[in-house]
Assembly symmetry: C2
Homo-oligomer: 307 residues x 2
């Protein structure tokens, strides 16, 4: 039994979320957990720093899985433990950084829903739904597709990045699946238009891990101040907004976003303003370290009694 450690290392530059890749942008940094490693995290740090020469800051565990596809061969089995890492230091010399939307072009809704969805994904998944054995399963598939991709009047939900990838995988619309079983998943698939541009594939299930990381991060930015790990020490509110927008893949209402930042007291003015660029200079902010300690643990709400 071998145990692999896999890292999704994320940074944001100019409002674009980037992920660190290896092997001509088709793999995530990874390596086996060895006896010399003090802990899972330190093993991960060692591998990432060795392979990418980039220091690892904030790290959280994502998910552990036993790779079905690689199993059974000679009895050996691999357990993969995946981690999400956030970083801000991003020197220009580094290579391997790649926009995560290169792998998931359907996830970027900042300029409206990508035409790719209506043009290719929706018809292909509709065909897959039709190909289900019985009407109940057909309806179930159709509902899953509609909810995941915001079709049939359903709202788009950016947090469903993993479900979307898994649907495409299940329908054999991504090449990762087609390496596993060569036959098309349903009869209509062969007749469909070229699906080559459904994002850049990765080795093994690295793209699934990346989808897991995106989903986790999109959920987390809403209740934990993790964006701060991705931004420089001081920043303007627009930079902060663009960072969140890049991660969420959606545009935000500017004034309401600012109001939210103010009333949550997560940031404070530095007194300085930006000099560069066109337009009125923006105030520079920094995160309030004191609040971070408390807010880092603020939970959600229930209708409590006699508080």
């Amino acid at each position: 039994m071998t145990v692999d450690l896999i890292a999704v290392l994320v940074a944001v530059q100019a409002g674009t979320p980037l992920v660190m890749t290896l092997d001509r942008e088709r793999a995530l940094p990874s390596g086996p957990f060895a006896l010399g490693h003090r802990s899972l995290q330190s093993g991960l740090r060692a591998w990432v720093e060795q392979q990418t020469h980039h220091p690892l800051g904030y790290v959280e565990q994502l998910y552990t899985f036993a790779d079905k596809d690689r199993a059974g061969e000679g009895g050996a089995r691999t357990i993969s433990i995946s981690y999400l890492g956030l970083t801000r230091a991003l020197s220009d010399a580094e290579s391997g950084w790649c926009s995560w939307y290169a792998y998931f072009p359907w996830e970027d809704h900042r300029a409206g829903p990508p035409p790719l969805i209506a043009a290719q994904i929706a018809p292909a998944l509709s065909g897959w739904a039709q190909s289900a054995p019985d009407p109940a399963e057909q309806a179930a598939r159709r509902q899953r597709v509609a909810i995941a991709f915001g079709l049939d009047g359903q709202p788009w939900n950016e947090e469903l990045a993993l479900q979307r990838y898994e649907l495409l995988y299940e329908a054999a619309l991504v090449p990762e699946r087609r390496h596993v079983d060569t036959a098309p998943a349903f009869a209509g698939l062969a007749g469909l238009a070229d699906l080559a541009d459904l994002g850049r594939p990765m080795i093994g299930d690295h793209r699934r891990i990346l989808a897991t990381a995106i989903a986790r991060l999109r959920a987390k930015i809403k209740y934990r101040p993790v964006v701060f790990e991705l931004l420089p020490p001081t920043f303007t509110l627009l930079q902060l907004q663009r960072c969140v927008e890049g991660l969420a893949g959606r545009t935000l209402h500017k004034q309401n976003f600012r109001r939210l930042m103010e009333q949550q007291e997560l940031v404070e003015e530095t007194g300085a303003t930006t000099a560069e660029g066109i337009g009125r200079p923006a105030k520079l902010f920094r995160f309030r370290a004191a609040v971070l300690a408390e807010r880092a643990v603020a939970g959600t709400k229930l209708p409590l009694a006699r508080s």
Copy 2:
């Protein structure tokens, strides 16, 4: 390298959250992941059903860790993958079910803050904070304690169950830690009153895993309809409320809780009412399966633009 699967199996009876235990209530169901297992989950199901004879319903992965303490001996190393399972079928004949508050008496705030906190935990942790090497670390420890246990005007946050256990572990106030290093963590500890009633200990880090499960479940009930896995097919709103209260360890405002249930449309009336018991008969409800499919994926909010 061995891989262990560990399950926290939770049920609720009469408003009390129960956890399935083995070995005189000191261990969680667990077993090694073997080559014969199709997947991690199916391996877990096999172990739990073999050891407890209880079927496993809803399951989600909690966390994976490499047990530091057991490491290094002869070079062998153990990876533990923990899961949370929710179940409702709870026949009376079964044994091994145990209130989770037996392990974490400081977590039950339904009758107000447990006296245990003010009487024993707060002074002991205060001593631990004082024992820090420098003033900065002392202040940091004091703040961690205040936030975790709701002291010094901080509000109680039920989601911090894991942080609380880890603080007690760090301060060597739980016997699990004292098995590892025998010396008291700080000079004042020896002079403190008997701390024997800081909850029932468990083997290895099983109590830490249970704390992880509690924290996860308390966070999750607020945004995913998972309570439904724990209740019978029909129930009264008070039963539902008592179930949530038991999990959260806090009492809720009755009328507002009902309003919340109604406006979320998660439940619908069956038309029947309860016969038994004193007082006005309560309407029976069931969960709306249709809404489950949609709401199961409803995320939280950002200030979106032009939606």
